[in-house]
């Protein structure tokens, strides 16, 4: 009998929940039930990029002029729009995976009922992260279309900005969910903006990483920076080997986040 067909043997070798994911789509289906009555929430997703991008276009673009993005001069609004798109993907994923998940763990006890069925903690974690990512992908698509409508798109490669934002969504939803399992009360959520705001401001979002001079290494520690670089590359249609590194960082963070989140959900609810 191979290890794969014998879960008992598998649990002794590796932590069970990392691989105990079989029906995450059922959690996504549950969310679809919840949101099919609130489709308006999806529509309002267009407003955020529209207001953001308009404000940049109206004010900053003329003041700042062109910016050097990896050797190419681009108008400021076209430089900054991908940064905002990546940040928006981060914020959406963090929101979905922190407050919403905490409520379901502590208040509504949604997961307790789910775990009494053949569903596992891994299914819950991956399913909830999966839905956050799907919703994020819809918003990112809206963001991309708004950029296109406002003439901020440089290259047809912009379509790759949506998969890039999906990677950002996975990374931040996984990390957000993992973090949430350590939250004791609503007060602890004060720490969330304390983490995401510096990421938003200092991830080469508003100006090139070269501006950071000797501190560029610090910017590279930001997960969002890697997302911003991917979306910006998509908008400029400039791909080089560095994207593999950015993708690897986001995928790695996702794996860590899912592993921690599943194990912690198991520890919290299956006592």
């Amino acid at each position: 009998m191979s290890v794969l067909t014998n879960p008992a043997a598998a649990t002794r070798i590796v932590p069970a929940v990392v691989f105990d994911v079989r029906r995450p789509q059922r959690m996504i289906e549950r969310s679809a039930f919840v949101y099919r009555r609130s489709w308006l929430v999806i529509v309002t997703g267009f407003f955020e990029p529209l207001f953001y991008l308009l404000s940049i276009r109206i004010g900053l673009s003329a003041l700042v002029g062109d910016v050097d993005a990896g050797g190419v001069l681009v108008p400021y609004d076209q430089f900054v729009a991908p940064g905002l798109m990546a940040a928006s993907a981060m914020n959406g994923a963090v929101f979905d995976s922190t407050m919403n998940v905490f409520f379901k763990i502590k208040v509504s006890k949604t997961y307790d009922a789910v775990l009494a069925t053949p569903m596992s903690a891994g299914d819950v974690a991956v399913g909830e992260i999966g839905f956050a990512v799907i919703r994020g992908a819809l918003y990112s698509t809206a963001f991309m279309l708004t950029m296109w409508g406002l003439g901020m798109v440089q290259s047809p490669w912009i379509v790759m900005s949506v998969p890039a934002c999906i990677l950002i969504g996975f990374a931040f939803a996984s990390l957000g969910m993992a973090l949430t399992t350590y939250m004791r009360s609503w007060e602890d959520f004060e720490y969330v903006p304390a983490l995401t705001l510096p990421l938003f401001l200092f991830s080469a979002t508003f100006y090139p990483i070269s501006q950071y001079g000797n501190y560029a290494w610090a910017v590279r520690l930001s997960p969002l920076y890697h997302g911003v670089e991917l979306v910006r590359a998509a908008n400029l249609g400039q791909w080089d080997s560095s994207i593999f590194g950015h993708v690897a960082v986001l995928v790695g963070l996702t794996a860590v986040g899912i592993a921690v989140a599943s194990r912690r959900i198991e520890a919290l609810l299956l006592t």
Binding site: P7, A8, T11, R22, R23, R26, E29, R30, F33, V34, S108, K109, T110, D112, A113, V114, L115, A116, T117, P118, M119, S120, L269, L270, T271
Partner: protein
Amino acid sequence: MVGAQDPVVARQLVKKFDDFVAVDQIDVHVAPGEAFGFLGPNGAGKTSTMRMIGCISPVSSGELRIFGLDPEADGRKIRARMGVVPQLDQLDNELTVMENLVIYGRYFDLSRRDARAKAAELLDFVQLTERADSKVEPLSGGQQRRVSIARSLINDPDLLLLDEPTTGLDPQARHVLWDRLYMLKERGATQIITTHFMDEAEQLCDRLVVMDAGKIVAEGSPQGLIAEHVRREVLEVRFGHGRNEEQVEKLDGIGGRIEALPDRLLIYADDGEAALSELHRREVVPESSLIRRSSLEDVFLKLTGRTLVE
């Protein structure tokens, strides 16, 4: 006889939370088709035992087999054959009654069509068809509990776990629920019920164990336990607060056993009427008296010296 595939076989089962021993080396066997009860006060270890059987709580030590399977290795497989009604309803407040049942069926891998058909059938069974499209929140406590029961049946479980199914319900809602549970029993579903209501255990359970402080202190059928531990009837007499204990010596030889509580004396006797006549003959006249059948409450009182619900 213990069969290898029996719903529950536990030997020396223990549940510990840090230093606290919630379940202390219990042996339990539940046969197919049986309605089995865990009776005990709050904190006796009933819910901890149920959670281990439900494969949502790891066993600390001892052996537990559900349908012959090990919960640690085959939790998913076991849960697939089980229905659980938790102590506090964990219904999905974001969904309607119908959606609650359908998505639950999906967790058990039912097709959408089957889940919907089964959900409609079960809502009919618990008499809530007209509330199918209502959200959960506006329903009464009894209705919510019925939704929980309907939801727990979505996978046609071989084993149904009911953790204090009627706690917090009014008498009428309790009777509706008992009626449905009895129908399920007639259909052959194995049921495990925890309760701290002796009348509920007597109504619903073929066999039960009495738990106290994590241990099993008695085991048998409700009637068997009553016959074994107490007499057929109880004469309850009240002499006024604080004056009950001092009457005991005057009652020597009446009935089988006398239990002195702060507010009343319980005299266990085969014939309560005769015991009361004897009291009057000795000119011991209580403020009030009541003759009733003995219950599991009396069994518990005898075994532990405490009442179940106070």
